[in-house]
Symmetry: C2
Subunit: 332 residues, 2 copies
């Protein structure tokens, strides 16, 4: 039996912070597709904060990863063998093959991608789930109007970077929050945000007030915790909060917010969402995002780590905010 | 100059809890209406939690009461003198005349009431602002579907009692939260809720879990704080939270909520609102509520305190949850 398929499986559930020994590397045989299935050779694996939630035993919106199972994850790859007429060997595809070198799935779970105008990796970021997450939350929940101020946390990340650039396209003032001067500089100078607040500088409240002189109409929240609290303090009446992620909670830190009063006195709408539950918006979102990326109107940055065996370490770094832009693993 | 108009004015802003010396009693001349105005002799004054917010200097959704001004408040009364053709002496009216025996206002700020089918006091409660608050929050934000579970805090109060009864009319399971066995008994036996949890019994989480075996689809929040936190823990996916009041915050206690994660993982919509900003719904809401009260389908309870001079003490009791049902002051 061949053992050519390196996989990374969940070995144990994390206590607070994720550690490398929560994962186990395994070598298995390359699987065979059944009728209607496709075998994909993974080229890039996407690492995303939601994966942290799947490692827990807790009730969540998505099925947890069982102990011993291959970690879930979005991938781009190449069709190695197809038993479905819609795909043939060599096609570039996106799918959820997980943390492994080869995977099999039903043909309907794959989507062909056009790599002539947009590089393949971007289908895991700006023209993939993170991009659609930004697009859906901003346009369907945030509903920003020209001239309004849109604030977004994790602004240099895969979702936040798109939120701010979409806000600029819509004629808004875009303000980011990010960790450290390098990320903040990138957000303003490369991505074109109007301002970016460095939450690590220790003056979050004051800096946020200076960066949002007209208050905040949309706060796109990717992190929760104290940054959410600080943002609540800047809200204008009738502000909207698309609630997308709570990175600061994924590691077990306290997630209390104190400024609940702002939600009432400003008649705020706060809405949690999961983009995979809104499949109807994906085609329009992907088409717009793809065009804007091809035209250079939406920019992106990637951190690419070589080798699937390094995925656990890169994932731990992602949860600590060590990556810069979209975190990917080059698998092959 | 006559001094026949007893008024209660704001003497100082409260530090945390409201005290009687935050108010001052004053006797003034009965005012004269100008052209287009009406002089109203107040019969009943409504006491409501929102008044606590008006006593602070803080930014809020409504103008604060200035030091030395008459306290704001909803009233029913009798037209004593009219300089507008729409009203004549003796008409029963609702308006915002405040904590005083006589007041003048523009005719367009008054609404005539029909006291033949519904007692006049009810226009300050179930068929007034509290009732419309319940109606708007439940129907427009909560959007309950038959068979769903609607949970409401301050369930024996002016708003909460209507929320639960409307939920029953809509075919939902109605569960209340109230303080003490007397209020809980009333909520179940008189108002017809399916269950009521006594938050003072010290087993909030367990009792709430037992009372909501199928989880919670709508949590109508009147109090915030630890009760909001406990309710967040019972939410079903796609739950809705009309955020109506934060009594537990009106006295300066910590208002932190810890269970923010539930908002994300359950894709919750939380929406703060102020019913006076939705004048379009008032006629429909008042018509429905008035009919249901007249038919006995919606029941109510009132605590009526005699004498305007006792309003400060009654208001302090309201903030501590000492009243039972709608708190009113019989002024004349």
């Amino acid at each position: 039996m061949s053992t050519d398929n390196l996989q990374i499986r969940l070995a144990s559930r994390p206590q607070r912070w994720v550690r490398e020994d929560n994962f186990r590397q395994v070598r298995e045989a390359i699987p065979e597709p059944s009728e209607g299935q496709v075998l994909v050779k993974v080229r890039y694996l996407s690492l995303d904060p939601y994966m942290r939630g799947r490692m827990d035993d807790a009730k969540s919106y998505a099925a947890k990863v069982e102990l011993g199972d291959v970690m879930v994850g979005g991938t781009v790859g190449e069709v190695a063998e197809s038993r479905d007429e819609r795909f043939q060997r060599g096609d570039r595809v996106v799918g959820m093959l997980g943390w492994q070198q080869y995977g099999v799935c039903d043909a309907r779970e794959l989507r062909k991608i056009d790599v002539s105008r947009v590089p393949e990796t971007v289908y895991l970021g700006t023209v993939g789930m993170p991009g659609v997450t930004a697009w859906y939350g901003l346009t369907h929940i945030g509903e920003p109007k020209p001239g309004e101020t849109v604030l977004v946390s994790a602004a240099s990340g895969a979702v936040g970077s798109v939120v701010g650039q979409l806000a600029k396209i819509k004629g808004c003032r875009a303000v980011g929050i990010a960790g450290g001067p390098a990320k903040c500089g990138y957000v303003v100078e490369e991505l074109g945000f109007d301002a970016c607040v460095d939450y690590k500088a220790g003056r979050l409240e004051q800096d946020l007030a200076e960066a949002t002189p007209d208050g905040v109409d949309v706060y796109y929240d990717n992190v929760g915790g104290p940054i959410l609290d600080a943002a609540l303090d800047r809200l204008n009446p009738f502000a909207r909060i698309p609630l997308c992620g709570l990175i600061s909670g994924y590691n077990g830190q306290p997630m209390a917010i104190h400024n609940v009063r702002s939600l009432l006195i400003n008649r705020v709408k706060l809405q949690g969402f999961i983009v995979t539950e809104h499949p109807d918006v994906w085609p329009q979102a992907l088409r717009q995002l793809g065009e804007w990326v091809a035209q250079g109107r939406i920019k992106y940055r990637e951190t690419i780590t070589e080798g699937l065996e390094n995925a656990p370490q890169a994932f731990i770094g992602l949860l600590k905010g060590e990556n810069f832009g979209k975190q990917l693993i080059k698998v092959a």
